[in-house]
Amino acid sequence: MLKDKYPEEIKAVLGKYPPEQKRSAVMPLLYLAQREQGFVTKAAINEIAEILGVSATDVASIVGYYTLYYDEPGSKYRIQVCTDLPCALRGAEEFLEKLCENLGIRVGETTSDGLVTVEAVMCLAACDKAPMFQVQSGDGLSYHENQTVESAMNLVKTWRKGDGRA
């Protein structure tokens, strides 16, 4: 239960909004829930609904609407490459293709060891430092800019080592 594990965090989140507007806390609480297993479980949705006094459907609709929430387990690391226009003009599409080729997958797929998923995503506000990607993992979100296929593969190598799969 989130309430048992994160009582202080929940209190701090609720303190940001007027007491009669608890529903505003749905997004920060979903981030808190997602921290646990990399996706939002049904149990967490029910618990958040209870904390905020809204229906579970209201909470689930937020998970479905916003792209940074997941409702099913994924790989440990998601490499999300921006391929929008400014990045594409600086070679992001070719970068994505070669990266996938090196990992032996197609865009949207997960490596055979289940560790890395590569996705193409929309603008990440780093257009001057393309090719670039963000990594979504249990440690949060991190930006990796001015990338080459080699630098990205080195990053994957360190993850594999850390995970005992190298």
Binding site: K16, Y17, P18, Q21, R23, S24, A25, V26, M27, P28, L30, Y31, L52, V54, S61, I62, Y65, Y66, T67, L68, Y69, D84, L85, P86, A88, L89, R90, M122, C123, L124, A125, A126, C127, D128, K129, A130, Q134, G140, L141, S142, Y143
Partner: protein
């Protein structure tokens, strides 16, 4: 004299520390406003300064504040830090490098409109920046710059961060307010506008990060001083985010009215050898395509001059497109973005971007017929003027201007190809 008004951290790298920011005049303006000015006087200074919204719409900031409904309370200020327009990456640098000037701007706007609570709505990808801002806010509270009864004046202010979760549409102010209320981030029908019906139905002012970051200097040094920068109708400086086919992409803080040529060649280092500018998108992916004639390159980048080229300055996210790029490919990229980001509320935008994507994919893939380009134009025109917010409008800017101004890129190349394609049905359902 400092070269920068906004990107001052480029000269003082430790400006993101409170004591350093204060050594450089930080919070003088907020102290002066709260202890010696009436809220309306602050609004008046900003009005006279001619500051216009830097998020894209270019609406006069002081005028926006003056619309706040003084009969309904409480009031709120929301800082728009949702920066998601392809080609825009200025607010991120401001919040990382010069966060206190931004937060002081939030405080000044809040004082001017009588808000005791302000929210900074950041895109979810900026969660590290949100964490830094939370720390800075705590430091300001400890230093007596935020909290209750500030400087003994009786005025109280609290600032909170709120993270979005990956939805471009939340940069639209009413969608942002819905999102902040814990609902789906979808635009509201307007009027009523946020200054009368905003967050939780209360009067609210929504301002962009860069707009807010201008305020401390304007209040500290005065409107006349600010108007020495920029042009008569577009006073001040702007952070131009330069991207695409240039040698030195990045943020450039320059006076409004600087020409495209100066930005591209003097600051951006020009293009790769042998390449010429083919098109310019001055407002990110939401932009019409400007044909890069000599005259266009010499046009000043301000709110009045850019429309003479059939485009808008918007957020000044200048995407440079060189002569190796096919405009048919380009509009497929922008349409793909808007199709993905359409919130689905208005049918013309939801369905229109879906069908435009099918058409631009086929056109870009070379399997185009003359009818496809006509159909695309037709679909785009049917989105026009029929949606609650500007996303639908934005999605057709590059499409219609691209087809109109770069006809050669949409011509059907050979009669053999045309024959082959025209034997297929003109609209194919995929998925």
């Amino acid at each position: 004299m400092s070269k920068y008004l906004l990107l001052r951290h480029r000269e003082v790298p430790t400006l993101n520390r409170l004591e350093v920011y204060r050594q450089h005049g930080g919070f003088q303006a907020f102290h002066k406003a709260v202890t010696s000015m009436q809220p309306d006087q602050v609004t008046e200074v900003v009005k006279v300064s001619g500051l216009r919204g830097r998020g894209g719409a270019g609406f006069p900031t002081g005028m926006k504040w003056s619309f706040i409904d003084k009969k309904a309370w409480p009031h709120y200020v929301v800082a728009n830090a949702d920066e998601s327009e392809p080609g825009t990456f200025k607010d991120r640098e401001i919040m990382e490098g010069n966060p206190f000037q931004f937060l002081e701007g939030v405080a000044l706007a809040s004082y001017a409109v009588g808000a005791n609570a302000a929210y900074v709505y950041l895109r979810g990808e900026f969660w590290q920046i949100a964490g830094q801002l939370d720390q800075h806010i705590a430091e300001m509270e400890a230093a007596g710059l935020l909290g209750d009864n500030l400087f003994g004046s009786g005025y109280s202010l609290h600032i909170y961060t709120h993270l979005g979760a990956g939805a471009y549409i939340c940069g639209e102010e009413t969608a942002m307010l819905e999102s902040l209320e814990g609902k789906l981030g979808q635009p509201r029908l307007r009027p009523p506008f946020p200054p009368s019906f905003g967050l939780y139905g209360k009067p609210t002012v929504v301002n962009n990060v860069e707009t807010l970051t201008n305020l401390p200097l304007i209040v500290d040094r005065g409107a006349e001083w600010y108007r020495t920068y920029g042009t008569e109708k577009s006073p001040g400086v702007k952070v131009f985010s330069l991207s695409g086919n240039v040698n030195r992409p990045g943020n450039y803080e320059l006076p409004l009215g600087t020409t495209f040529r100066e930005l591209i060649y003097e600051h951006g280092g020009g293009l790769s050898s042998g390449r010429k500018v083919k098109a310019i998108m001055p407002a990110g992916a939401s932009s019409s395509l400007i044909v890069a004639t000599e005259q266009a390159l010499d046009t000043p980048m301000d709110y009045e001059s850019v429309p003479s080229l059939g485009a808008q300055l918007g957020s000044a996210s200048i995407i440079i497109v060189d002569d190796s790029v096919s405009i048919a490919w380009l509009i497929n990229k922008t349409v793909h973005f808007f199709k993905h980001e359409s919130c689905g509320k208005c049918t013309p935008c939801r369905e229109g971007t879906f069908w435009m994507q099918h058409l631009t994919e086929r056109i870009e893939g070379g399997k185009r017929t003359r009818e496809d380009v006509e159909l695309l134009t037709d679909v785009a025109n049917q989105i026009k003027g029929k949606c609650l917010c500007a996303l639908g409008e934005f999605s057709i800017e590059a499409v219609l201007s691209g087809i109109d101004r770069f006809k050669g890129d949409f011509e059907v190349k050979t009669s053999a190809q045309q024959l082959e394609v025209s034997s297929q049905p003109s609209v194919v359902m995929q998925e």
